[in-house]
Symmetry: C2
C-alpha cells in the first residue's frame, strides 16, 4: 500500500507563530487552549511550563498571559490589558482581521452576519467586536424570516468551507440591497482543503489527523468523506485500526492546521507497519 501526504497539510502560519510565541514565553498561562490540539498543548506544558487557564477569572497569579490563536472576547482582552499581567498576543492575524472588520462595519451601521459555529472560541471573539448582536449561522435556512435592513456585512470563520460561505452570501445578495462580503477564510484553509479534495479522489482510504474540536480539521474530514467513503479522523496513532487498510492500494494522509509534524510522523510510521504486514 502506498502512503501519500496531501500537497498541503498541517501547521498553518498562525499556529506556527503561536507555538513559537509560547515556546519563547516559559511559565506563561494561555487563556483557553492555545490551539486545538491537546497533544501539542501537553508538550508545551511539559517542556516550557506553559499552562492553560479556562478563562481570565482562572489565571490565578500568572505573570504572563498568552492570547490563544482563536482570539478572545473584546471585553476580556480589555480587562486583562488593564491588569498588571503581561499580555502576549498570539491571536492569528487572520483572526484579528475579521475582528477588525466586524468592529468597523458595525460602527458604520451594517448588520453583521457571521458564517460560523457560535460555540467556537474564534467566533465568540469575533462577534464580541460588534456593537449590536450579530447573526451567527452555519446554514442559509437559519437566515429565513430575519429582517436585514438595507446593508449587511458578512464574514466567515477562518476555517470553514468556501462553498458553504457562498450559500450564505447568495441568500443575502438576493434579499439585501448591499452586501459587503469579506472572504475571511484563510489561505491555509483553502490550500489544505483543495489538497485533501484532490488526494481523496485518488485514495481508497484517507486518514485525517487533528483535534476533534478543531474546526478546520473537521472540514478536511467532511471534504475527504465526500470523495472517499473510507475516511477516518484520528488524533493519534492509538486510534488507528488495522482493518481500515486491508486490501487498500493508496492511503491518503492530511492533517489540520493545528496538528504538529511529530504527530503526523507517528501516525505515518504506524500505518507503514500495517502496510508491511498486508
Amino acid at each position: 500500500m502506498e502512503i501519500r501526504l496531501a500537497k498541503n497539510y498541517g501547521f498553518c502560519f498562525g499556529v506556527k507563530r503561536a507555538i513559537e510565541i509560547a515556546e519563547a514565553s516559559k511559565n506563561a498561562t494561555t487563556i483557553g487552549p492555545l490551539i486545538h490540539n491537546n497533544e501539542e498543548i501537553n508538550r508545551l506544558q511539559d517542556n516550557f511550563n506553559v499552562t492553560t487557564a479556562q478563562g481570565i477569572s482562572d489565571i490565578g497569579d500568572a505573570k504572563k498571559a498568552i492570547i490563544r490563536t482563536h482570539g478572545i472576547v473584546k471585553d476580556d482582552l480589555a480587562k486583562i490589558k488593564a491588569s498588571d499581567i503581561e499580555v502576549i498576543d498570539a491571536t492569528c492575524p487572520f483572526v484579528t482581521k475579521p475582528q477588525n472588520i466586524v468592529e468597523r462595519m458595525s460602527n458604520k451601521g451594517y448588520k453583521i452576519v457571521i458564517f460560523g459555529d457560535e460555540n467556537h472560541p474564534e467566533v465568540k471573539g469575533v462577534k464580541s467586536y460588534a456593537i449590536n448582536e450579530p447573526i451567527v449561522v452555519l446554514r442559509e435556512d437559519e437566515l429565513e424570516g430575519i429582517r436585514f435592513g438595507h446593508k449587511v456585512a458578512v464574514i466567515s470563520q477562518t476555517t470553514r468551507k468556501v462553498s458553504e460561505f457562498l450559500k450564505i452570501a447568495n441568500y443575502l445578495i438576493t434579499r439585501v440591497s448591499e452586501v459587503r462580503v469579506f472572504n475571511t477564510i484563510c489561505n491555509a484553509t483553502f490550500e489544505n482543503q483543495d489538497a485533501v479534495r484532490e488526494l481523496a479522489q485518488e485514495a481508497d482510504v484517507m486518514i485525517i489527523i487533528g483535534g476533534k474540536n478543531s474546526s478546520n480539521t473537521k472540514q478536511l474530514y467532511t471534504i475527504s468523506k465526500d470523495h472517499c467513503i473510507d475516511s477516518y479522523l484520528v488524533e493519534n496513532e492509538k486510534e488507528l485500526k488495522m482493518s481500515w487498510f486491508e486490501n487498500k492500494k493508496l492511503c491518503g494522509v492530511s492533517a489540520g492546521a493545528s496538528t504538529p509534524n511529530w504527530i503526523i510522523q507517528n501516525i505515518v510510521s504506524e500505518i507503514e507497519t500495517y502496510s508491511i504486514s498486508n
Copy 2:
C-alpha cells in the same frame, strides 16, 4: 385552449413614469429611444409629437430634451445641461441608483465590475460614472486572468437574471478579500421573471411580448424557454403563427417591462381567434 396572463407582466414603474413624462412634454425630443418598444415610441410621436434623436449631436433645434429610461452617458448629460435646452430626466430611478453607486465606489478606490451587456444603453450610461474603466461582463469566464486588487464593487444591469449575477459575485468572492455586492436588479424584473417561470412550468405554449432589443424581455424569453420548449418572442400580433397553438391546452402570456397594455391586448385578442378555430 385557455389563455392565461402571468401574475406579473409588462410595464414597470420606470417605464410608466417615463411615458407619463413624455406625454406631458409635447414636442420634446428624447435622446435615444425613450424605452425599448418601437410601437409605443411611434404612438408618442403620432399623438404627442415626441421625437427621437440618436444622440446629443442629433437633437437639432429641439427646445426640450428627454433623458431616456436607460439614462445616458455622464459627459453627454453634463453637456446638454450646460446648453440652453430644457432637460427633462426620465431616467428610471432604479438606473440612477447603479450610476450613483459606480461613481461613489469608484471614488473610494473600488475596482468596478458590471454584470451586463456593454452595448446596452443602460450599461453604457452606468459605466461612464466610473473614474477608471470598469470591467463589464456577461459570464464569469470573462473574469479569468483579471487582477482585481483587494476590493471590488459589483453591480448588475437592472434587467438581468439574478442566478447569473450570483455566478459573477461568487467568482469574485472566492478571489477577492472584499466584494461589495450591490443587487441592482430591479423588483419588477424579479417579479416578472418569477411569474413567467411559474406559468411556463404549466403552459404548453408561451408567448412573450416585447421589443427584441429589450434586455428584460429577452431574459423573460430565456426563462420561459427553460421551462416550456414552445416559447415565442413577438413584438406584435402580426408575428403570431396559428400553427404554434395547434393541440395546445394552456397558452401562457407575459410581456417585458416596456410593453404597453394595448399591444398585449391586441395579441391576446388575436390568439383568442385561433383558439375558437381550434
